[in-house]
């Protein structure tokens, strides 16, 4: 299957098809098509460059949700030298939408808290499409407190379409679980890095998203509500999501401009799914650099900086 499956990627798909048919013609007829194929491949490279360097916000949202995009587990298996998953919130159950565990990356010990969407129908259902329940947030908190006890820094990987809006989730205190994490994460005595690898939808993302540094892959979105949700409410029309993405300014670049994200992580041309290993390398290096910097700061100072960082967020006038 082609890697170019999104609507706006149709021109690339066409060139790819031409290359394929040219090649099969070559095989069938014995004609030398090398030059023609080469020309088309050059055209593809150029088209890709033009297309991906001028993406609209809505197109980036689609890349953030791309079904082939690497998920947390894809990164964890590539970047860690040691990984041991830890399960359960000790109150109610284990939430497979949240993958947590201890890890070592290049001699750096870490607690990884991550959201996992699942690939394929069975896995997606098991992972609840990356929509965590209160148990997920409580498991995350339990393990962040464990990390704090042993002075192990915390890495969170954010990729969720939102916290799960179910009956049981409400009954077991979805709001309380998220609120408690915001409260506890803001004063956790170890460094915390938050990295958006796909979608960062609202409270569901923020529930594991408080920390010292926030990094976003280039083609990710992070906002208070999904573009569709915003369009439904404010434009009264879900199909106006592209406009809503622009109005809310939801991309990594926007977040950097707002002063909410610290760093944008570059992606292979066309998205992280075009090259899993290259994307994992980018992630790994960013993690190592960020913790190296944060580990130098005294814990009290680090917490004070963290609170001050959030205190500056927002825009208002003083009269």
């Amino acid at each position: 299957m082609s890697n170019y499956i999104l609507e706006f990627e149709a021109p690339l798909r066409e060139i790819e098809d031409k290359i394929d048919s040219m090649k099969s013609t070559g095989i069938k007829t014995g004609m030398d098509v090398t030059e023609a194929v080469q020309k088309l491949e050059e055209q593809l490279t150029n088209e890709k460059k033009i297309l991906y360097e001028n993406l609209s916000r809505w197109e980036r949202v689609q890349l953030a949700r791309h079904p082939k995009r690497p998920y947390s587990s894809d990164y964890i298996s590539r970047i860690t030298d040691y990984w041991f998953e830890l399960h359960g919130d000790r109150y109610f159950s284990d939430d497979p939408a949240m993958i947590c565990g201890i890890a070592v990356i290049d001699n750096l010990k870490l607690m990884i808290i991550s959201q996992e969407k699942g690939r394929g129908t069975k896995s997606k259902l098991f992972r609840n499409f990356g929509m965590a329940r209160p148990e997920g947030y409580r498991k995350a908190l339990r393990l962040m407190k464990l990390a704090e006890k042993y002075k192990i820094p915390v890495l969170t990987l954010i990729d969720t379409p939102g916290a799960y809006p179910g009956l049981g989730a409400e009954e077991r205190g979805q709001a309380e679980a998220i609120a408690r994490n915001l409260f506890e994460m803001s004063k956790l005595r170890v460094p915390i890095i938050n990295i958006v690898i796909g979608e960062g939808a609202s409270g569901g993302a923020l529930g594991i998203g408080v920390g010292d540094k926030m990094l976003c892959f280039e083609n990710t979105w992070y906002s208070v509500i999904s573009p569709e949700g915003c369009a439904t409410i404010l434009f009264r029309d879900a199909s106006r999501a592209p406009e809503a993405a622009d109005s809310m300014m939801v991309t990594a670049k926007d977040l950097k401009y707002f002063g909410i994200a610290d760093t944008i992580l570059p992606e292979p041309l066309g998205g992280t799914h075009q090259d899993y290993n290259q994307s994992a390398d980018t992630l790994k290096n960013a993690i190592l650099d960020s913790f190296l910097e944060l580990n130098k700061i005294d814990p009290d100072k680090r917490i004070e900086n963290r609170i001050e960082k959030y205190d500056k967020m927002g825009k208002w006038s003083d009269g």
Binding site: A163, Y164, P165, G166, L167, A169, E170, E171, R172, G173, Q174, A175, E176, I178, A179, R180, L182, F183, E184, S186, K187, S202, G203, L206, G207, G209, V210, Y222, S223, V224, I225, C230, I233, L234, F235, R236, S247, M248, M249, V250, D254, L255, F258, I260, R306, I307, Y310, D311, M313, G314, K315, W316, S317, D318, G319
Partner: protein
């Protein structure tokens, strides 16, 4: 703007936000009884027939709680600047202006310091009538300054919530207000501060998922709608009817997320009693002398 609070389900009644209409006579949205406005006012907008708590404004709460209605406002001049230059069916700037004219307030929260039964406290009171009590940069900054003041003067803090959640016209900025307020509360708590939440109808979304659920003591008015996700979304997700009384104060009390349901008439005494119990304010001396008497 308030469309997302309005439930389509027959089972879950959502009251019109302007339920305290003009005129001499008002109809109670719960028991449908027509009540004389003046009597309702004297009864703190609690239905004289069925005890339904009408939604009231921050000014009403000030009259209800503050000694002699007196207070000093905190961060009085902070107001919105439309950081995203947001345009939808209505422009955000116009929306703010209309809300300011309608309510006479700068934004969806009033922050202040004053006495409750002789005990000094810091209060943040949200107003659902101001763009659905939504939380943007201004709400975040005002509450943040209020918390700082409570921390500095070692005063108890009360936040009365009434909010549909984050204000999406401010995009990610509005989301980050949840983190901003929660982190300030964490610091205040570590300094020994006492934080009491009073949840009123309705409190949902990001407001519930941050400071509403972080009180050392969480109080709620009777029958207030309190939740994270909207009832309509949940119904779509699970594909079945929601139980009676779902996401109401009594439901949350039963599930263990609220300490006590307190009627509006008992709110002032409840707050000052709690302040005293946790050693804030005037009664510290009295307690000591009581101990002396016993000895």
């Amino acid at each position: 703007m308030a469309e997302w609070f309005r439930r389509k389900s027959e089972k879950i009644k959502t009251l019109d936000k302007r339920e305290i209409a003009e005129g001499m006579w008002l109809k109670c949205p719960q028991c449908q009884e027509v009540v004389y406005r003046k009597m309702l006012e004297e009864n703190h907008f609690i239905c004289t027939n069925c005890t339904h708590h009408f939604r009231i404004t921050s000014d009403n709460y000030i009259q209800l709680l503050m000694d002699d209605g007196k207070f000093e406002e905190i961060a009085a001049n902070v107001q919105s600047v439309d950081p995203l230059n947001f345009k939808a069916t209505k422009n955000y700037t116009d929306q703010i202006k209309t809300a300011q004219e309608k309510t006479g307030n700068k934004d969806a929260v009033k922050t202040l310091i004053g006495n409750i039964n002789g005990i000094k406290a810091v209060l943040a009171i949200m107003d659902f009538s101001f763009i659905g009590g939504s939380m943007g940069s201004v709400v975040g900054e005002k509450i943040s300054q209020a918390i700082d003041r409570a921390a500095k003067d070692h005063l108890p803090l009360v936040i009365i919530t009434a909010s549909g959640g984050a204000r999406m016209q401010e995009g990610a900025y509005s989301l980050m207000q949840m983190a901003k307020i929660s982190s300030k509360l964490a610091r205040y708590s570590d300094l020994g501060g006492l934080y009491i939440t009073v949840i009123t109808d309705p409190t949902t979304g990001g407001t519930t998922a941050s400071f509403a659920m972080l009180g050392d003591i969480i109080l709620a008015e009777p029958n207030a709608l309190i939740g994270f996700a909207g009832a309509r979304v949940i119904k779509q997700t699970i594909g079945e009817e929601l139980p009676e009384g779902f996401q109401r104060s009594e439901f949350l009390l039963e599930k263990g997320f609220i300490d006590h349901i307190v009627g509006r008439k008992e709110l002032k005494t409840t707050l000052s009693d709690l302040f005293s119990f946790f050693n804030f304010g005037a009664s510290e001396k009295e307690e000591l002398s009581e101990v002396d008497d016993n000895e």
